[in-house]
């Protein structure tokens, strides 16, 4: 875990409201695992007050760089989008527990919208997984998935590219082909992926989102519900014990 000011190497728009930023940081690039995130201080000041959590989409050890892909939502991401090459971004990372990797398993990554971003580094590590990518209308980072995945299928809600409908429909048709599925995206999508996996006894890992304070495990504001060994439900930290959880353990209801 490092707290650093990283140089912005590039910050480019990929789609309407979606940007990709490359940061120079040997430390975070070296230590990060797929599924981890960084916690970004928006500017040197106190407005907005809180840092913003953004997943690491790519980490290149050799180049000493990490990439993030982010959606502009409110003030924080707006200000990140306005930054330019050469400026410094104050980040803490790598944070959290990423995706668990297995040897010799048949894997799929299933992403929805901006949730596809953290799956890219995972796809690189898994080497020959299949990618299921769902978008609303605009599609981004497709070529990078295609370059590294065995098979890449795409669905858009309006049918502008690929299958017209939800990506989970395509996953369901092929679920038997996999031992492990990793998913990141809107909660309803992840819930559906988890159900599909459950029905076919496929291991499923989901990446959770919660509003965060410290981002490092100290303040307990980011909890989600997990099933305990005792059968009860416990509150656990998304920032430290997650963001990735085994779908069998985490409650995706709320």
């Amino acid at each position: 875990m490092f707290s650093e000011k990283c140089e912005i190497i590039s910050n480019e728009q990929l789609a309407s409201k979606v940007y990709e930023m490359v940061l120079r940081t040997d430390n975070i690039a070296r230590e990060s695992e797929p599924g981890q995130f960084i916690h970004i201080r928006i500017n040197g000041g106190l407005y907005p007050l809180l840092r913003r959590p953004i997943s690491i989409s790519r980490a290149k050890k050799e180049e000493g760089t990490i990439t993030i892909v982010y959606h502009v939502i409110g003030q924080g991401t707006e200000e990140i989008a306005a930054m330019v090459k050469g400026e410094m971004l104050d980040v803490i990372g790598p944070l959290g527990k990423g995706f668990t990797l297995f040897e010799g398993k048949r894997c799929a990554v299933v992403g929805g919208g901006i949730g596809t971003a953290p799956l890219l580094e995972l796809a690189h590590r898994l080497k020959n997984c299949d990618a299921y990518l769902g978008f609303k209308d605009e599609v981004y980072k497709l070529h990078e998935f295609q370059a590294v995945c065995q098979k890449t299928v795409v669905a858009t809600e309006n049918g502008s590219i690929g299958y017209k409908g939800f990506i989970t429909e395509l996953l369901e048709q092929n679920i038997k082909a996999y031992d492990v599925v990793y998913t990141c995206g809107p909660k309803p999508m992840m819930r559906r992926v988890a159900d599909i996996c459950m029905a076919s006894n496929v291991e499923c890992y989901v990446s959770m989102e919660e509003r965060m304070g410290c981002g490092i495990g100290a303040c307990l504001v980011c909890t989600c519900k997990v099933k305990g060994g005792d059968g009860g439900v416990h509150h656990t930290k998304v920032c430290k014990d997650g963001p990735v959880f085994n779908a069998k353990e985490v409650l995706l209801d709320a």
Partner: protein, 298 residues
């Protein structure tokens, strides 16, 4: 040589920088950024007699220059604290202060007894706005502040700090009640009760509807309460509420605080308390102050 030592009701701290309860866990995470021995004291997350799961999420909302939180005292309980967390903190040369909250006066007393002299001081949290029991109810009436302070004090083997709620009409009468009942020090402020509504979902942002406001937004209220209280009580005051720079910390010391605690700012800058300590040292050097208590109003 600068002397930053400060005595908080019998507890000597090497410097006046503390961490505010609930913003710093049990110190583990921040120990990855710097040596906790640099701090005057670590105040741990609010403890209850039994483990607590706390409130549902979302538990945090951002507001102008502040945050609302509704953690609801999630914590592993006093026993787990003593077994798993305290030994870790004892690796460092810093005072450890246990912040405690209970449903009943008895629970507070049991906790104080159980903690014994294993911690360096106890901070009585009678001001948590996020739980019905054990919280703010005790902290807004003089007679209940008096009686709970008195009861816990009789069980308490270490200095007893009473942490006050800012959600009161008259902070001075509350502080005097705590002092009369034997409190060794006072800390203030806990969070102001607040709320945020999402105009798109048309629901409160926090699952718990209301939460506690902290951060720079509350600083003027906190400084005012520290100042008012300092005019009235003789026991030391630990000031907090929005401290986000050494300048803010000095402002609290000028208002009459003997020590300061850093809360929300830890989330913004993990080195916050250390940077603030350095800033205070430089301010003292620049002003030719040798002792901390020379930082007073003109």
């Amino acid at each position: 040589m600068l002397n930053l030592k400060v005595n908080i009701g019998g507890l000597e701290l090497k410097n006046p920088i503390m961490t505010a309860s609930g913003t710093y866990g049990f110190g583990r995470e921040y120990s990855e950024f710097y040596d906790l021995s640099k701090l005057g004291a670590v105040v741990v997350k609010g403890l209850t007699l039994k483990p607590r799961e706390g409130n549902a999420s979302p538990r945090i909302a951002e507001t102008p220059a502040g945050i609302l939180n509704s953690v609801g005292l999630q914590n592993p309980g006093v026993e787990a604290f003593l077994e798993h967390e305290l030994p870790f903190l004892r690796n460092y040369d810093t005072a450890v202060i246990a912040n405690i909250a209970g449903n009943t006066v008895d629970e507070y007393c049991l906790m104080a007894e159980r903690l014994g002299s294993q911690v360096d001081a106890i901070e009585l949290n009678i001001s948590c706005p996020n739980v019905k029991e054990g919280g703010v109810a005790f902290g807004t009436k003089c007679d209940s502040v008096y009686s709970i302070t008195k009861s816990v004090k009789s069980q308490c083997k270490v200095p007893l700090i009473v942490k006050l709620s800012p959600n009161v009409s008259d902070i001075v009468e509350i502080a005097l009640s705590a002092e009369d009942a034997g409190a060794d020090a006072i800390s203030l402020i806990n969070t102001l009760l607040g709320m945020k509504i999402d105009i798109n979902t048309r629901k409160p942002v926090l699952a718990n509807t209301v939460g506690g406001l902290s951060g720079p937004a509350v600083k003027p209220v906190a400084v005012r309460m520290v100042w008012q209280t300092a005019q009235a009580v003789k026991i030391p005051i630990i000031g907090m509420g929005g401290i986000s720079s050494w300048q803010d910390a000095v402002e609290f010391l000028l208002a009459g605080a003997n020590a300061v605690a850093i809360g929300t700012y830890n989330f913004v800058n993990p080195y916050g308390p250390i940077n603030i300590l350095t800033g205070i040292e430089e301010y003292m050097i620049k002003n030719n102050f040798k002792e901390l208590n020379e930082i007073t109003m003109k």
